[in-house]
Symmetry: C2
Subunit: 132 residues, 2 copies
Amino acid sequence: MLITKETDYAVRCILYLAQADAQIANVTEVSRKMHIPKTFLAKIFQRLARAGLVESSRGMNGGFRLSKPPSVISLLDIMEAIQGGSCINVCAVDSKKCRRSAVCSVHPVWVNLREEVNRRLQEQTIDKLARR
Amino acid sequence: MLITKETDYAVRCILYLAQADAQIANVTEVSRKMHIPKTFLAKIFQRLARAGLVESSRGMNGGFRLSKPPSVISLLDIMEAIQGGSCINVCAVDSKKCRRSAVCSVHPVWVNLREEVNRRLQEQTIDKLARR
DNA sequence: AAGATTAGGACTAATAACGTCCTATACTTC
DNA sequence: GAAGTATAGGACGTTATTAGTCCTAATCTT
């Protein structure tokens, strides 16, 4: 699957943080509002934090907030933070894993498709999505 | 993953059959030439046959041949025969599995992406690919 | 110091991908 | 019509990925 459930959850919680009234939110809150298993969500936030998309603060009244404006966070950014990029096909990602890539006439199709998908995901920024 | 190994194998063997000198070929032959595990390939051919992309003949000198001209077989056809369509995201395929799809502002993005991917895969016909 | 919250690794469960094996069935040739 | 060759199809096994839990430590606020 191109988009895993984890990525889907991640998008939801970034969107939640982007709402004006939720500048900072903790795991419990986001978990309840967005219907995401709490412990799983904690992991997701960790990855988003390591990728620099959100910042955390611990202790009482702690939680997470976006570390960039929504206009510069794209679906691609989130996906890369969680899954490490879109996986169309093994040989499109790492041509070393496909010895035939030089011979294979289909290979360029996968590469092309991947580029197009990435382009589209990059276009979709959080501010655009949050406006709907 | 959008394109599974099984689909990838299927594309390879359809391409092989499309070569002029291979009007009919048996599992053993295709397996050797295309580097696909033999028993696995047999399964793949079965699916392609059920989808009407290839025809089989049994017994001595039997094997498989394309049942349509290469110009009307697309990558999408092959993918649908093997995987049953492109799986971008659960909720893009079956909106019943995503109760939030009515509310969710990201949902249309997945649907759109899926349509674009399908469109591109449909454009790529076997005759185009075989020519390279 | 107490309570609340994230950090991070180890672990488990479920699902899908990948592939094998065995028996039945059909066709060709001698 | 018997022997040999090939596909048909279901059951099964294996591995990888996805999804999610749990526990302990570290940090911050009051």
